[in-house]
């Protein structure tokens, strides 16, 4: 009696989660996988095949965009790590009491606004008639208006900004748990700043670094608004290709194939990252 009641309540608790996973994650992905192998022969006949995948490899624009997106996402992830580490170190190790909470909030507050608003914020700063441009002119460092939007640097700035919080949080969590004496012992036994960072702090923070990198990499790889808005029409982000296939060209089969390839890419990269750093998913995700 009690055990069946317990089982029932367990199922009731699990239901929202199961529904969410099945209806919003599993079913669409399986459906997409199925569509990606369908070849449209005429308006009402469909055959199975790998034509869409062949298109990807033969059409250089597809795979070049694909590689470019992967490389830029990696670079963005690395840059985010470099920017986030000192911030996380300061929040976790130097700030005390109230200052700690306030700094953490300062990282969090931008995320109360939507990605769209944040991106427009950057556009106001960087565009030709924007703040930075007018400052440069006022200081006499530029003769005319400077366009800082619509290039790769602008895209990466926007992406790093969007990923920052997701890197800072896991880093703060791991660094917070580090014994202060470990750092002191590192110096005491003859290590300099570089050695202590390389041999003691980074290995300790590795689970946080990897989990932050995985999240930021996936977010960046799958981001759509920032590359489109800040990179302009030439930004050539892979998600734009998928969007074009689905919405503009109404070629769902090709769009689905590209989507599956993006999923494979991110999974492979995460797996590689874990392998290379010798971490396991269980350790990284806590």
């Amino acid at each position: 009696m009690t055990s069946s009641a317990g089982r029932l309540s367990l199922w009731l608790l699990l239901t929202p989660f199961v529904l969410w996973i099945v209806l919003l994650v599993l079913v669409p992905h399986l459906q997409m996988l199925r569509v990606s192998f369908q070849v449209r022969e005429s308006w009402d006949t469909i055959a199975w095949g790998v034509e869409q995948y062949q298109n990807f490899f033969t059409e250089s624009y597809y795979w070049r965009t694909f590689v470019r997106t992967g490389v830029m996402s990696l670079f963005t992830t690395l840059l985010t790590l470099l920017v986030a580490f000192p911030i996380a170190w300061y929040i976790a190790r130097m700030a005390r009491g109230r200052a700690k909470g306030i700094l953490f909030m300062a990282c969090l507050i931008p995320f109360w606004a939507s990605e769209l608003v944040r991106t427009y914020g950057w556009m106001i700063l960087l565009r030709e008639s924007g703040l930075f441009s007018s400052w440069l002119q006022a200081l006499g460092w530029a003769d005319g208006p400077v366009e800082m939007l619509y290039n790769d640097v602008a895209v990466i700035i926007g992406l790093v900004y969007n990923g920052l919080l997701f890197m800072v949080v896991p880093l703060v969590t791991t660094l917070d748990g580090m014994d202060e004496n470990l750092v002191e012992a590192g110096y005491d036994l003859g290590g300099g700043h570089g050695t202590v960072l390389r041999e003691i702090i980074v290995p300790w923070a590795m689970p946080g670094i990897i989990s932050g990198c995985i999240v930021v990499f996936m977010l960046t790889l799958g981001s759509y608004l920032t590359p489109v808005l800040m990179g302009g029409k030439d930004s050539a982000w892979f998600t734009e290709q998928i969007f074009t296939q689905f919405i503009t060209r109404f070629n769902w089969e090709q769009g689905a194939a590209l989507g599956v390839l993006l999923l494979v890419l991110s999974s492979v990269m995460v797996w590689l990252g874990l392998k290379l750093s010798g971490q396991s998913l269980r350790k990284v995700m806590g």
Partner: protein
């Protein structure tokens, strides 16, 4: 001179706000000695150790190690290593890498490094454990790895910050003796801080008793025990009975005191300028108290007390008695010569006045 000692400090001061955690401390540690700093928590001993290690800078005063001024030398350049309270073994490295960390910083080539790691592990009694993780070791083994990690660098001075605190009692007793042997074996100067007076007594050549940022007394353990220089040392080092009274007379370094329960007793004067009529406190150790009948040994002092209870603890069994409202502890003789003690029975406790120390009481 200063060059002969491994460590000498002069007028060290470290203030936090208006409070001086280390208040004009001078000390001198000869090479090869085991020097302990003993004090209750919050007395500033950890601050002092951090000044010596270089994690903190003194506001005043100088630190010299082998005659070299260390004030502006960063911790990684000092010939000093520290065993931390929680050991701080690097959890991401194996035992061998933990020990090799410092050697690597000194650019010792790998084959030589391996040899020295194996050698020092042998010396601390953990041969062949290089490839283990520190987390897999027992508390006592980790302790030894932490020691080996420092000793392999052959520091002039080894600082130890209560490293035995985390061990259980039995292991602590064992490690105490082992630490003393290791210190003799390596010949390194140890500076050990602790709040446990038994650790300090058993291991040290010299003990400094610290209170409120100052040293009350620096002496070998036995002198500290027999000739405490201040009431604080008398009460803090070892068990002691504190009896309050009024000075009646001072003759030949012996003070006669009228205790609050009315008995007239005597003890050696320990603080200068003890005047007749002053409030005084007499310290007498439980093992110096003897049970006596009506026949008092010539020259002994005695007082009456009522038995409250007996505390059986093997060789350290004591009786708790009451003298005018103050608790008095006396050690029970091991030969069974003690009278049968029942609660509330009256006993007479006597002592040799030469073993009692009389201090002027703090003015209330």
């Amino acid at each position: 001179m200063a060059t002969e000692s491994d460590l000498s400090c002069n007028g060290l001061v470290r203030r936090f706000g208006r409070n001086a955690a280390v208040d004009h401390i001078s000390l001198d540690v000869p090479a090869g000695t085991f020097f302990s700093i003993l004090g209750p928590s919050g007395c500033g001993k950890t601050t002092l150790l951090r000044l010596l290690a270089g994690f903190d800078k003194p506001d005043e005063g100088d630190i010299h190690i082998r005659g070299q001024r260390m004030n502006d030398v960063p911790p990684n350049k000092r010939p000093v290593n520290m065993v931390f309270q929680h050991l701080a073994l690097f959890p991401t490295m194996s035992v061998g890498d933990n020990i090799g960390y410092g050697l690597k910083r000194r650019k010792v080539p790998a084959p030589e490094r391996r040899k020295r790691i194996a050698g020092v592990l042998e010396q601390v009694g953990l041969p062949g454990l290089e490839h283990r993780n520190p987390q897999e070791l027992s508390g006592g083994q980790r302790q030894r790895v932490a020691l080996a990690r420092c000793l392999v660098l052959e520091p002039t001075l080894l600082l130890l910050d209560e490293p035995l605190g985390a061990l259980d009692l039995k292991l602590r007793e064992q490690m105490k003796i082992e630490l003393k042997h290791l210190q003799k074996q390596f010949g390194t100067t140890f500076v050990y801080i602790t709040h446990d007076q038994s650790e300090a007594m058993v291991m040290s050549d010299q003990v400094a008793v610290m209170k409120d940022g100052r040293f009350d007394q620096v002496a070998p353990p036995e002198e500290l025990y027999r000739e405490p220089a201040t009431p604080f040392v008398a009460g803090f080092v070892g068990d002691n009975n504190r009896l309050l009274g009024q000075v009646v007379s001072v003759v030949d370094n012996l003070a006669e005191i009228k205790l609050d329960d009315g008995s007239l007793v005597r003890g050696r004067v320990a603080s200068e300028g003890l005047k007749n009529g002053a409030r005084a406190e007499l310290y007498i150790r439980p093992e110096s108290l003897v049970f006596t009948g009506d026949a008092l040994t010539e020259g002994y002092s005695a007082m009456q007390a009522n038995v409250r209870t007996t505390l059986f603890d093997g060789a350290n069994s004591r009786v708790e008695a009451d003298n005018g409202g103050q608790p008095v502890y006396a050690r029970l003789p091991q030969d069974g010569s003690a009278p049968r003690l029942t609660t509330n029975s009256a006993i007479r406790l006597a002592w040799d006045p030469m073993l009692a120390r009389v201090f002027e009481a703090d003015n209330p």
